[in-house]
Symmetry: C2
């Protein structure tokens, strides 16, 4: 149930040899039509990898025949030569599929600052094109893994017969603006470019954009949506957006569950904010606070650190009316200690934090992880 | 050479029993005049401890007879009862010194969210008043330590005969808006309230406000400057500000050197920014990035992560013109890899990072530490 779950798509995953491990590292997803509508969302980081710069240009057409994705190298901070490499990758893919390079999106993930080995990558593109299959989604999902411990896929099947399929890679550097991840979503529903774009924007806003494992924002984040229109049904826009959001939420939770070195998955729900934006702002401030994250690793219901994080925002609230509940125990009320901290059980992996701002009627949930020895270990040793 | 280095000050440090360790935890610093000019800077966190709320009121007079400081409890998030405790502490101090409570600043540091044991604290105030001594600065500096491994003091002696003395506590949660710290600075120079305030603002802006060990901002940060005018010299404002800044810089470096769990002290200098504010903004973004901080712990000159952090700011720069040097090796130029990464020696504790934005003529330095196993350990176990 990956990107080939919907009709009108083939995919493959092959080994180019970009990864030292020798595991699969090149994926290809092809929309066989009849329609080739596409939409995309990109990292908001101003330092953008060559494949992001390329794919942004491609996406101005609102149409996509294929996406070629590699792990084993981000092709970021590689200058004009790196951009030329991306261009060559798109051209090679276009040649193999008998289309134009402008119809091919490129995504890369891995270390920043190093050129890709094109002598390995380009032959693998041909190989991937030869291996395209209607059940190739799983192989594609496996080929985009980096520090992921599991391939991440999701799907949704509507009562009307249309389907959404998706794959993602992402296990670290999760932050808003799409969380260091590559996501490809496919559907056989008939959607036009405008509907695809607005549905994708709304779905990302509520899911990927609210993951924040360490506040860092990647140079390569890309979410693509491709529609084949192979099922002759135009879905209700609201239902389609909800379905897309449910698929994105499922992938987001998979990424959270696989975040590097984490022992806790923490949902921070901010209630009674003046606006939804302020609820998100406060949720992120708590999600990014290293002292809060360390406290959860230590299974310490340290609500004081949560209040200190809330206090660094400019959201509307009165410090003397703040309340915090951890796993259902209202441990802070009116800005002071309330229920006994020993009542809070933090032994499970899932943690629910609720912050009540008492300043309005809006709420939002942001997801994060704890800060652990393993996080430090993985991220201090990653490139060496 | 602590707060009693200048003439016109006495100080003491005693044991109230607030700390489980039984170490000294209450300090008193008294200005014996003839002048009682004072200035202060406070945390910008909107969740402010009771002693901060109290001392802000006191400081509206621009005058201070004494400051009483306790470790072993922050008295933050303790509501009206906590504020009453601070008020009682000021009154008890005022009684002992035969002055008004409005002339007494209060500072507290330690865990958030718990009331202070006033039955222990109030008798200790009397004890501290009895122990006041013209050489009591060292004892006072020791009594405000929390996770500090050393008492932090500094002094400056001018050619004109006036002196600045200072003490600080601060070892974790270092962030702008004064870095979880309590600082008391004394001087026997004659300065009026306006001169004291502007000199303190300028000195803090370039020193404490540019420390950032983990991006967290405390509820209790307070910097106080007290002038006794016991030496009849009115210093040149520029010289006085420079002297004050040198004392603050020395304390800031002591705090950086003592930051919880750090193995590296990292100076991030941002050059050729469009404005000094943007230089500071970029420096902070790099200083706070967990992936950058983990890389330095791993002695990995990962300039790609530095670029990714720079890219999250809205400072003026062209990604293709960014340059990064680490310990003098220009490892990134024009946004791409330059010198061989193996040339960068990161074995020493001190690390110098230079980011060149090529967007103007302004620069600033921000100081931070690495993110280590010990940081996680100390901060996950602190309150349990």
């Amino acid at each position: 149930m990956s990107v080939t779950a919907p009709q009108g798509f083939t995919a493959s995953g092959v080994t180019a040899g970009l990864k030292p491990s020798g595991k699969p590292d090149l994926a290809l997803v092809v929309n066989t039509g009849p329609s080739q509508v596409a939409a995309a969302r990109f990292t908001k980081n101003r330092v953008q990898a060559a494949p992001v710069l390329w794919t942004k240009q491609v996406m101005t057409t609102g149409s996509l025949r294929a996406v070629v994705l590699n792990s084993g190298g981000a092709n970021a901070c590689t200058g004009p030569d790196g951009f030329a490499d991306t261009h060559k990758t798109a051209e090679k893919t276009a040649d193999a599929l008998d289309c134009g390079a402008v119809e091919v999106a490129v995504c890369s993930t891995g270390l920043i600052g190093e050129r890709l080995d094109m002598d390995k990558l380009l032959p693998a593109v041909e190989d991937a094109a030869k291996n395209l299959a209607a059940d190739g989604g799983r192989a594609a999902a496996e080929a985009i893994m980096t520090t992921d411990t599991t391939a991440k896929t999701a799907a949704y099947v509507s009562d009307e017969g249309w389907t959404i399929g998706a794959m993602a890679k992402g296990a670290g550097m999760l932050a808003p603006s799409l969380a260091t991840m590559l996501v490809t979503v496919t559907t056989d529903a008939k959607v036009d470019a405008l509907a695809a774009d607005s549905a994708l924007a709304a779905a990302c806003d509520r899911t990927f954009d609210r993951l924040d494992s360490d506040g860092s924002t990647s140079t390569n984040d890309t979410v693509l949506l491709m529609s084949s229109g192979a099922v002759d049904v135009t879905p209700d826009p609201v239902e389609f957006t909800e379905a897309l959001a449910s698929v994105c939420h499922s992938l987001a939770q998979s990424m959270l569950g696989d975040a590097e070195g984490a022992t806790k998955e923490i949902a921070i729900t901010v209630q009674n904010a003046a606006t939804e934006e302020e609820a998100v702002q406060v949720g992120r401030a708590v999600a990014r606070d290293n002292l809060v994250k360390c406290a959860f690793f230590g299974e310490d219901p340290n609500w004081g650190r949560i209040l200190a994080a809330v206090g660094c925002t400019d959201a509307a609230f009165d410090p003397d009316r703040l309340a915090v509940a951890i796993n259902g125990v209202r441990i802070c009320e009116n800005g002071c200690a309330a229920a006994d901290r020993s009542l809070v059980d933090l032994s499970a992996r899932a943690v629910d934090v609720t912050v009540d701002l008492d300043a309005g009627g809006h709420s939002a949930t942001v997801w994060t992880t704890d800060l652990t020895h393993d996080y430090v270990h993985e991220n201090s040793a990653y490139s060496t």
